[in-house]
């Protein structure tokens, strides 16, 4: 758990669990921990064919379980990792939210949010290498990141060609990088259409990652491709928060923002999976979004109220809380991941008509509801450019990724079980106070940080593409 400016009680994974460092990729067995004994197994996110062995599948499941165990203060009888054990469970994709960055919008306005989110400096600018994905790194924290691909037109002008969106989880790729360079290369090629050079994925000088220890693979990959994601162990080892290599910046392989991680996804669903309620007359009624976040339920120094302003957190937490209030047990449906659940493609026009089908390319998932990747816009072989597309009823020119992200909904898939009795004691444990008025998001502390970013943008905007 990285961030959110809240106190978080994350514990180190139990020593009894299998960890990456004591496993050999070539020949290992992965026992279930004795106290876990789950009947459920999560496949690769999107049901991709990346995980081609039971051992890799087990490692992925151990990773999920490790993150879950580390969040023990938030555990609840209304949430289980063992989705197969949920009584009368059905899978739903109703917990979803808009993919556009919410924070710069509620702090400032839509125009500023679009500018900051699409921020990209012109290639060749002295600051380009550091700031080329500035918008992505600073603002794409609703479990969807994008990169704008530019190309020169016949006049030599650099123009946006298409936008690549990804919802793939950093932890999953780090697992592949640590334990199976071959499957990492497979996933890379699945996205880019070419085999990688090992140095792209593990750092300069690496010609055979199988000669590296697991730790060195992880450190190399984290440094050059994934970043540290706020992981304190990696940061202590010198891994930067964001990767210094280009391959993920250029290809949007997976998400790197520290908030967009498996740990935070688990955290926010677990945070919500309690029967938050308030009394109305003699009855219990569900707490509102602001009420859920306006009280310290888990020992936080300050209530995490500013989470209520974002897209992802209130949607995930309220989705879970609503089920807990009804006494329903929930879990992540198989496969656990973040998915592109809807895309309002009809809001875009090209030459006054619908977008050509080949300009909308979903991938990294086994069909609708499981896609983790979207490329929107003309391909390299096409003479057209992204800015020839219009968006919305007023047919405004498409400027970049923000306007597209506004029309994408992302979310996890949940399994929801049958209802059960919730006792007064359970409601009382998560009783909230009714608020006189909604929280004023403009006062959120994140707005002060974003004000500095906006000032920085104003300083450099002359160099923007």
């Amino acid at each position: 758990m990285a961030h959110r400016n809240i106190y978080h009680v994350k514990q180190k994974a139990s020593d009894s669990l299998v960890t990456f460092d004591n496993l050999s990729f070539e020949n290992f067995t992965v026992p279930l921990s004795a106290d876990r004994n789950l009947a459920s197994t999560y496949q690769a996110p999107g049901k991709t064919s990346d995980l081609n062995s039971p051992d890799l599948v087990q490692l992925w499941n151990n990773k999920i379980a490790d993150e879950y165990d580390a969040l023990s203060p938030y555990h609840s009888r209304f949430f289980t990792l063992d989705y197969a054990q949920i009584d009368q469970g059905n899978d739903f994709d109703t917990v979803r939210w808009a993919a556009d960055p919410a924070e710069p919008n509620f702090c400032f306005d839509e125009k500023t949010a679009q500018e900051l989110s699409d921020w990209k400096l012109r290639i060749g600018h002295p600051l380009h290498s550091a700031l080329s994905v500035k918008g992505r790194r600073e603002t794409h924290n609703e479990y969807c990141e994008y990169r704008i691909v530019f190309s020169k037109d016949s006049q030599g002008n650099l123009r946006p060609k298409r936008v690549i969106f990804t919802t793939e989880l950093r932890e999953y790729w780090m697992l592949l990088a640590t334990h199976s360079p071959e499957r990492l290369a497979f996933a890379f090629e699945d996205i880019t259409g070419r085999a990688p050079h090992w140095h792209e994925l593990y750092g300069p000088g690496v010609t055979d990652p199988n000669q590296l220890s697991h730790e060195d693979r992880l450190l190399g990959f984290a440094t050059w491709v994934s970043g540290g994601g706020g992981d304190s162990d990696l940061m202590d080892s010198g891994v930067p928060a964001q990767p210094i290599g280009r391959v993920n910046n250029l290809n949007a392989l997976f998400m790197t923002h520290r908030i967009n991680g498996l740990d935070d996804l688990l955290y926010i669903v677990l945070y919500g999976a309690h029967p938050y309620a308030k009394r109305e007359n003699s009855a219990w009624i569900p707490a509102t979004k602001d009420e859920i976040f306006s009280k310290s339920h888990f020992g936080e120094t300050d209530p995490p109220i500013q989470l209520a302003c974002r897209h992802a957190d209130p949607a995930a937490a309220l989705g879970a809380a609503g089920q807990a209030f009804s006494g329903r047990q929930i879990g992540f449906a198989d496969p656990l991941g973040m998915y592109i659940l809807s895309f309002a493609k009809n809001d875009f026009l090209f030459d006054g008509a619908a977008i050509p089908k080949e300009w909308i390319r979903f991938s990294r998932g086994e069909g609708e509801g499981l896609y983790q990747r979207l490329e929107f816009g003309p391909g390299d072989e096409d003479d057209h450019f992204l800015d020839e597309i219009t968006v919305g009823d007023e047919e405004a020119p498409l400027k970049g990724g923000f306007q597209i992200a506004q029309r994408i909904e992302v979310g996890p898939r949940l399994r929801i079980g049958s209802s059960s009795t919730v006792t007064d004691a359970e409601y009382e444990a998560f009783e909230v106070q009714e608020l006189d008025q909604p929280y004023n998001c403009a006062q959120a502390s994140v707005c002060r940080n974003l004000a500095r970013l906006r000032d920085e943008y104003e300083q450099y905007r002359f160099s923007e593409v």
Binding site: F108, G322, N346, E394
Partner: protein
Amino acid sequence: MTDQIQEGVYFRPGERPPDHFAIAFLTLSNAPDPIRVRGLLDDIWNTIERLKSGDVADLPGQPFDPKNLSAFLGFGSSFFRRLALDSAMPPELKRFRPPKPDGGGSVSLGSGLNYGPDVMRNPADAAISLQFTGDSALSVRRAVVEVWKTIENYSASHGSSPLILSGSYTGFGREDKRSWIDFFDGTSNMRSDQRLAAIQIKERSIQLPDKWKEGGTFLCFMRIRVALKSWKSLSRADQEILVGRDKLTGCPLVVADDGTGSTPIPGCPFSSGGNVEDGENEQFRFASRPAGSQELRNSHIHRANQGRSTSSDPESRLVFRQGYEFLDGIDEDGNPVLGLNFVSFQDTPERILGMLKLPGWLGNVNFGGDEANQPPGMDELLTVFAAGFFVSAPVSQDGKFPGREIFSISDSLT
């Protein structure tokens, strides 16, 4: 929590909209001068204030009962653009798409709502809207006519008018709380204590030229015709599945115990002959999304209100509805021309646009049901005569028309 929402929005606890409604649209003449527009709006607002106190200019000394007349003033995007007040325009203020030149066409990309085939102009694509509500048919109609008189007087004294009364519609409330399709309507509207959070434009942390809007709201208006003949051709069961409620009682449908089909939620109504508008059935007005049935999740009530979040969150798509029905004669085929003046208030048009466009909401469907398998006629059950968004300033503290300070944002007026 105090609010600054203009009058005519009946969202506060215990408030109920008056029975009568009118809306007037004003467009700008060629090359409008902002100073003249402001002057004429001053005159119009003065006329309205006099009407509200039972006084009309052409009948001096003849006071009348204003019948609880209220007025709500909003600005459309063309107001800002044509008066070169672009910097003061809220960026979220949108226009619906225009009808096709030969009629018809979608009101919004991705939406299944289309203009009527004979609609070639959108009267609600206007610079200014004036909504009137009151307790008598005369009160709201007279207000529209007095606005017209004020414009005529201005034109007579100044040689021309910068504003033109370009359209007007009227409507009435139904005491039975049903719509023309016979089902209860607006049943799952927000609780009164949740409404302000959904409709009041939020404060921002920085000073922007459109800061004047904070504390105000956005009006969405659509004049929607209902093809009642098509609706009547459906069985009651098919109608109920499309709506998601029992036709008589308004009780929400849930999956039947045997896992097939649907049935009114157990326990509703509480007593025989009751319905969801009774106090004892209040708990059944809002319907949770049925977990086990895509057919029910495709129904109108579950597409339009998904209960995803709380009202302050725009992604909840919750809006405060205050609609009025209309009956406007008989068409050439002998069918009644009737429908709904859809009126909603929200803190951003995105709530409505998302509801209309997004897959899983009302995107690609006209009213409800499976978009790929619509019952006969249901892809054109609703057609639109007029549609527009308008931003309203908070209530004025000095008796002038709300939003008058917008004009001082323009350098030409300072």
